[in-house]
Structure formats: C-alpha cells, structure tokens
C-alpha cells in the first residue's frame, strides 16, 4: 500500500531563512505527489503537484519541490520564509487516481 512519511512533526525557522520540509513516499510505480498547506480555520490548499517530466516543480507562494526517485523523496523548499507561512504542511500521494493519501503533517513555526 502507498504511504507517505513526514519525519519532522515540528520545524522552526527564522523569518527570512530558507526552508526545507522532508517527505518520503512508498509506492511501486511512478507516483503522483502533492504538497498541501493548512492554515488555522482554512481549508487545505494545494501548493504544488508532480505528475511527470521536470523533477523540479514550482508552486504558489514561492514554494518549490524536487522529486528524487532514487531517494523516494519529494521535499518542499522555499528560499526565504515569511511570517504568513506559519501553518501545517502535508505531503500526499494518490492511490488509484481518486483518493489522496496524506502524511501526518509538519507544523511550521516562524520566529520573528
């Protein structure tokens, strides 16, 4: 069965610093991978997705992620975080093209 692992439950970075959130997946074939963000009181919002092609994908809000098949990873990056980036981030993979399998999430804290 497909699964997604986000090894960091909490991450704290200073405003303006770079960010990398880790994600590893388990899937036999080429996966479809996603990163979602969830802010308090807000619905899940899609940041970016990878289906095929270029392994570096650009998303909204200045985020990017890189698919590395050899490491079964899809890490999320941002060169300079803003206080408004504080939220919970979920890595996800599809199963059967209808349901999305989510990781447990990483909560991002921003220091002023």
């Amino acid at each position: 069965a497909q699964s997604v692992t986000q090894p960091d439950i909490h991450i704290t970075v200073s405003e303006g610093a770079s960010l990398e959130l880790r994600c590893n997946y388990s899937y036999g074939a080429t996966p479809y991978l996603f990163w979602y963000v969830q802010s308090p009181g807000q619905g899940l919002q899609l940041l970016l997705k990878y289906f095929s092609g270029d392994t570096l994908v650009q998303g909204i809000k200045g985020f990017e992620a890189e698919f590395k098949r050899s490491q079964s990873s899809f890490n999320l990056r941002k060169p300079s975080v803003h206080w408004s980036d504080a939220a919970e981030y979920f890595c996800a993979v599809t199963q059967g093209d209808d349901k999305i399998i989510f990781g447990k999430g990483t909560r991002l804290h921003i220091l002023p």
Partner: protein
Amino acid sequence: GAGVSQTPSNKVTEKGKYVELRCDPISGHTALYWYRQSLGQGPEFLIYFQGTGAADDSGLPNDRFFAVRPEGSVSTLKIQRTERGDSAVYLCASSLIGGRAVDTQYFGPGTRLTVL
C-alpha cells in the same frame, strides 16, 4: 459558489446520537470527496462521489457511516450511534471531473465534530 462550503463549522453531540454534516461543492464540480482528519494526523479518505453515485466508499470505517449526494451537488455525511472515537474534523473536497490525479481537489474548511 466561490469555494467549497461545509456546515456546521462545529458540531458537539453526545455519544449514541445521530449527526449529519453537509458539504456544498464548487458549482459545476462533478466529483466530491469526504475525508476525516483526527488530531495530529493527516486527512484520511472516506468516500468519493462521481455525480450522484459513490464511486469509491472503501474508506468508510464501518456501517455507522453513510453519505449521499442525491442530486449530484450537495452531499451529506451521516453518522449513526456516534462514538467518542468519531471526534475529528470532517473535510469535504470537490474537483471538476474526478477520478484522475490531474484533477485538483479543492477543500472546504471542515466540520469539527466532538462526541462527548
């Protein structure tokens, strides 16, 4: 509408009671999904509708959970004989066509269910 809406935003009930949670998808979206998010966890898939029919209900935990979408738009998730373990945020999402990973799922803000 502008986005997926869910009502109520919060629901507190007593163990053993029946509850209904409503989801209003984005207008024109044929696919609708329900997920459940327990504290400290990511969302877990419950059921997927394509139009009026449930295309995949493999995530429903047991027969106390049931969902309908009679006119292919609004959906209601129904939970009978609620248990404390049902306490969670129930999320609804919709997508334009559905059944394809390329189709972005747009999520509502969720309904927080608390079973006392």
